[in-house]
Symmetry: C2
Subunit: 336 residues, 2 copies
């Protein structure tokens, strides 16, 4: 059975859960907002589904839910953040205003975050920049779960790429895609719900192709999307996130000493651009020309469209959750 909870009510409930789990009030609020937004937009694999992962990392001492990130202004276009083994979302929040200011002054600016756990979707990070008229590109590495194309063992993370660009009329054009053929969260959901994966998405513990999500999770691995080209994208994410920010490569993340941990201590790079510095006219108006052409070519659904539709419905009717999920949230929010 589906129940509906007002967005703000879901934020409050999740914030209580993360405070109970060991986060400071500020960190709990930031993660709760992010997770409620994912659930609101129908991005289920980054929604309430992730509560146990956050709590497991906190309970095992693998992540610090109370620490403040250290922001360093390295150069006119470059900000460096040490997440101090906290979550990535507070690290992004701590540098965000400065990043926007630098992008507006310099035309382009970069935020490199190391030693921080990114366990959420990328579109909530990049979409707000586009709502301020800026273009944003985010590159994140995670933990080893993807075999390079033609390789024999997992090495890359699912390594997502996020992109957002402002439109004059419509909601921003936003995409957020793993460089694996499928995201880890979606494999977990398929396993939980008993669905098979499409062929070419994963291998089992012996390295043989499989469509069984449990075989992928049980010592197996994912494959990159699009063969060697997707594998190159995954490599670029390792370089642009881990190597550039000075964080862990995905194959260096090891939480085996922390039972229950689920979040990666890895790295993130955000590049933000003021697009009107380059354009002969109005960048956002040119995006409308592209969107019109995409619609004319039969692209009825643009990247982000489904999320925006879910968002509008959820803000009117409430965010839909299964009654089991709601019962779980109420239980963990008020333990004992």
């Amino acid at each position: 059975m589906t129940v509906r909870i007002p967005f703000d009510g879901l934020v409050t409930l999740l914030a209580e859960i993360f405070r109970q789990g060991g986060c400071s009030t500020d960190v709990a609020d930031i993660i709760a907002q992010n997770m409620a937004a994912a659930e609101r937009d129908g991005a289920r694999s980054h929604g309430v589904f992730r509560v146990p992962g956050y709590l497991g990392s906190l309970a095992s001492g693998w992540v610090d839910g109370k620490v403040d990130p250290v922001v360093e202004d390295v150069a006119p276009g470059f900000i460096r953040v040490d997440g101090r083994n906290g979550f990535a979302l507070p690290a992004i929040a701590a540098a965000r205003a400065q990043l926007v200011a630098k992008a507006r002054t310099n035309g382009i600016a970069l935020l490199a975050i190391r030693n921080a756990h990114h366990f959420s979707a990328l579109w909530p990070d990049v979409e707000p920049f586009a709502r301020e008229g800026l273009v944003a590109i985010e590159m994140v590495n995670s933990m080893a779960s993807v075999v390079p194309h033609g390789g024999n063992r997992k090495l890359y993370g699912t390594n997502p790429l996020g992109f957002a660009a402002p439109r004059r009329v419509g909601d921003p054009l936003v995409f957020d895609q793993a460089s694996s053929a499928i995201a880890n969260g979606d494999v977990q959901i398929a396993a939980r719900e008993g669905h098979h994966l499409p062929p070419g998405f994963g291998v089992d513990a012996s390295g043989a192709p499989t469509t069984d999500p449990r075989a992928v999770l049980d010592g197996g691995a994912l494959l990159p999307f699009g063969g060697y080209k997707g594998s190159s994208i995954a490599m670029m994410m390792e370089i642009m996130a881990a190597a550039l920010a000075g964080g862990n490569f995905s194959f260096e993340v090891d939480f085996r000493q922390h039972p229950g941990a689920a979040t990666p201590n890895s790295a993130q790079t955000l590049i933000v651009i003021d697009p009107n510095m380059g354009a002969r006219g109005d960048f956002a108006a040119r995006l409308e020309v592209l969107v019109d052409e995409l619609r004319a070519a039969g692209q009825d659904r643009l990247p982000g469209d489904r999320r925006y539709a879910n968002r509008r419905e959820a803000m009117t009717l409430g965010v839909p959750l299964s009654s089991a999920e709601m019962a779980y949230l109420q239980k963990v929010a008020r333990p004992g």
Copy 2:
């Protein structure tokens, strides 16, 4: 039969051809260097194979081989170039030193080029930045030849992405890949040599899947690599190149009034980063850690390896050409 020509001899021969074709001495030299480097590195589809395309565009008046680009210093991290309907390579060359200086001062800098014809590979553009210790990302749009995933007509160009990062020990890690399943030049070579394409690479004029390269070239179209994710990458290239720089989208390039023209008047964006600003240690040394792990995972050939091997051989033995290609070059270099 294969003949070999010294690299410098090939550059001289090609420069003569482009001067004859209507380029200024400077422009002819730049294009000749670039094309000879592609042939030297075994990147045949961007080598001598492209001479007729350059000459066709010049002869038809579609491109201006003599014009000087206009470079504007827009912001501390942003350079804007109007290629004035010339080739892109001279436009990049005109802004290159300033781009490097801005990246070193600001940590990151962007070069946006509009109204310029990019008809060459991307790796020769990005590799030199990595040899100076910088990271470079290049995004280029071209002319409509790719149907968006799920779409019904071509709209995107092959829209390549180029990436280069410096290593401490080895040659830079460099990749250069079309966001189509195959590059246009490789379809032309397959058609010329009578090879079939793999399934999923193209459609014919009716939109039906085909493995016949002639059917793709004859009113058909290419498909993006990797389904909807590759299609998102192609979209990002249109936005980051055409919309950002203020140039033509791929679907706006129309040279039907210029018989023989082959080059796209489109746009290019180069982002250059000083990677040591973000790293806790030495970025190039961290790349060696990644490379070691890639080799251990069975990646015997890294992106760029084949080009570097071809390059070493060609610099010792000469650049290999077929005798037919050599005869063609000698004929066009000394017409009449």
